[in-house]
């Protein structure tokens, strides 16, 4: 699947390249239980051979339902989880293999993360200015108090908050304001790349609009590159340049946003799009959704989607489909490859 990563159809140089990323969790029962119950070790393939790249200044979105591994990928990229194997190249350096702490720190400064729950991502015992100043001190960007205060005020203004708010504690803010504080913290070290893990899923829609607009403004102003993790297809459509669709830890389709939403190839992508409530009330014809996501510990054989797929045949139950080019994107589906998909 390295073909996807090294494909040169994009003009821009990829800022981030992920190749053959895999993450296996040990979900076995404790040793004693295994011995007593005669159970064997169990593992869960949270991420299974995923490859993609993100050109500078673009927004790449990973969509999927629960168990798709999208958050696991985000955590591996920012170093919160160790990949079982695979490469994560940031601006040419494989960050999974950086052994030198100083070099890792230099790299870390260039990519940051925005978390899902602004109620949990800010330390409740710290004042907002301390929270935002933390990366400045940790990365050794600034050390003098006055300079830090100036920079913190500047960051607060950047996310449309009042610099005087710095002395308050997180609980004094609404969810949307907290997410702004989290964004200010992420921007403190002038990063080039932000991993946004469901940045608006804990927020109300009217506040979500504020945050999405802010993210777009900041991207335009600083030329930021985003990896957006989301289950909300409308948000993805609004934000992303390109989209990768995950199902049970595997990429099933990668395509430019417009193509994915107007001409989805993979049956799962189609089903997902059909499942989105029809807010326009257009009464468009939709396929009824079938089945549920299988248990990721005991996934189906062959193509993971075959038990729910209307196009599945014998081959789909046996053989894992490879991600192959389709129009401007890639799709992993035997039916599409064989021309069986209408």
């Amino acid at each position: 699947m390295t073909a996807v990563a090294s494909a040169s159809h994009a003009d821009a140089v990829p800022l981030l390249t992920v190749e053959g990323l895999r993450c296996v969790f040990d979900v076995s029962k404790p040793w004693l239980n295994r011995v007593l119950e005669g159970a064997s070790k169990q593992s869960l393939q949270a991420v299974d051979d995923v490859s993609f790249f993100i050109p500078k200044g673009e927004t790449f979105a990973l969509v999927g339902e629960s168990g798709s591994g999208k958050s696991t990928i985000a955590k591996m990229i920012v170093g919160l989880l160790r990949p079982t194997n695979g490469e994560i190249r940031f601006d040419g350096t494989d960050i999974t293999k950086v052994g030198n702490a100083a070099e890792m720190r230099r790299l870390r400064r260039r990519f940051q993360m925005i978390f899902q729950d602004p109620y949990a991502s800010l330390n409740p015992r710290m004042r907002v200015d301390t929270i935002i100043a933390e990366p400045l001190r940790a990365f050794g960007i600034l050390s003098e108090d006055g300079a830090i205060a100036t920079r913190v005020a500047e960051l607060l203004r950047l996310v449309r908050l009042d610099p005087a708010d710095g002395v308050k504690f997180p609980h004094e803010f609404s969810g949307g304001q907290r997410q702004r504080i989290a964004i200010a913290r992420a921007l403190a070290g002038n990063p080039e790349f932000l991993v946004c893990d469901e940045p608006t899923s804990a927020l109300d829609v009217s506040v979500q609009a504020q945050i999405l607009n802010l993210m777009k403004d900041l991207q335009a102003e600083f030329g930021l590159t985003y990896l957006l993790i989301s289950h909300n297809l409308a948000v993805v459509r609004h934000m992303a340049t390109r989209v990768g669709v995950l199902y049970l830890g595997r990429l099933v389709e990668v395509a430019p946003s417009r193509q994915l939403f107007t001409a989805p190839r993979h049956p799962y992508t189609r089903m997902l799009l059909d499942a989105v409530p029809d807010l326009a009330m257009s009464g468009r014809q939709r396929l009824p959704v079938q089945g549920e996501i299988p248990n990721p510990i005991t996934p189906p054989s062959g193509c993971f989607y075959h038990p729910r797929c209307p196009l599945a045949n014998e081959r789909c139950t046996q053989e894992r489909p490879a991600l192959v080019p389709a129009a401007e994107g890639y799709v992993a589906c035997h039916a599409v490859a064989e021309g069986r998909a209408a």
């Binding site: 829609v205 506040v207 504020q210 609004h238 009330m281 959704v289």
Partner: protein, 335 residues
């Protein structure tokens, strides 16, 4: 707001309050609406709007110190708020079914699904054990649970999230209630599962002519399911009307902002319409129209007086703007 006598549920000036040490907080502030048999009413709003509290107040499940301070709730003409707990318990389950966001709060993890279904059926309907069992199987089949007969003997944790919510729907419908109150029934579920649950709920309520109050923050779910929709803001209903009107041509400035802020999966837009600020906390509800600090049309009247709910088109709106202005607003709205 129709005031016909054949209304199934009639809510008048309902007020829910929480006494706290810093004064009494009004979480639901004089809301009125009615519901016809078989009708699906969406109650939509952002967090803090009071929509869930409205639902719990209707069925008498408010957690103390919360209380209904004034107003009436009538089920087929009979006032049900203020009834003794014993009477209310008979109404819940028998005449009003409930579906909550987290299926685990409705299902007892220690009992088999079948036991819970059969118990509910036999509490409310004069059926024998065997008849109740058969009915439980039928119900599970109706909500789309495969191998229903066998699944009766499973425990709640043995079901997936979507299947569990189906069981809860079966439980809510077990005694053939006239009304189901569904509070964020699909919020905890994946999109593909949500679509199935919505379909099941819609189909069954149509078949059985059960009315539904669907409480959700998700306009998409409302668009798919509801006949009419009431939009709540800071404990008040700001707009109520047929779902198509409210979604396609919202009149109230808040509804309009809310609709504009939802990204459209069908189209690309550079920027979303955003409403400045956020929902006020209960301790700081603005004077006059609660929405006035965030509203682009607010004038002095909006800042001092509370706008009355009045009929506009096929629905009602609580706004001081005159009909022509509201209509102009609705035409401006994209959808």
């Amino acid at each position: 707001m129709t005031e016909t006598s054949e209304a199934l549920l009639e809510v008048r000036d309902l007020v829910v309050e929480f006494p706290t040490r810093r004064g009494i907080l009004r979480a639901v502030d004089q809301i009125s609406f009615s519901l016809m048999p078989g009708e699906v009413l969406g109650l939509v709003g952002e967090s803090g709007a009071g929509k869930s509290l409205t639902g719990t107040a209707l069925i008498g499940l408010l957690e103390p110190p919360g209380r209904i301070a004034s107003g009436t709730v009538r089920l087929k003409g009979q006032q049900i708020n203020g009834l003794p707990p014993e009477e209310l318990r008979k109404i819940r389950g028998r005449r009003i079914g409930m579906v909550f966001q987290d299926p685990l709060t409705s299902l007892n993890p220690l009992y088999r699904v079948g036991e819970q279904l059969i118990e509910t059926i036999r509490t409310h309907l004069p059926l024998s054990e065997a008849e109740a069992r058969q009915r439980a199987v039928d119900l599970l089949m109706e909500v789309g649970i495969p191998a229903a007969e066998r699944r009766l003997d499973s425990y709640p944790h043995e079901f997936s999230g979507g299947m569990r919510q189906r069981v809860v729907i079966a439980l809510a419908l077990a005694a053939e209630p006239e009304l189901v109150i569904a509070d964020e029934p699909t919020t905890a579920l994946d999109v593909s599962v949500q679509a199935q649950i919505i379909a099941v709920l819609k189909r069954l309520c149509r078949e059985k002519n059960t009315a539904v109050i669907l409480i959700t923050h998700d306009m998409g779910v409302i668009a798919e399911t509801a006949d009419r929709v009431a939009v709540m803001y800071a404990g008040r209903i700001v707009e109520i009307g047929p779902v198509r009107d409210v979604i396609k041509s919202p009149r109230h400035p808040y509804t309009k902002g809310l609709m504009g802020s939802i990204p459209d999966p069908e189209a690309e837009a550079e920027r979303l319409i955003q409403i400045p600020g956020s929902m006020p906390r209960l301790t700081h509800i603005p004077k006059g129209c609660a929405f006035n600090p965030r509203c682009g049309f607010a004038n002095d009247q909006c800042r001092t007086e509370r706008p009355p709910v009045r009929a506009v088109g096929k629905g009602s709106v609580a706004c001081f703007l005159d009909e022509a202005q509201l209509t102009a607003l609705s035409l401006e709205a994209r959808r």
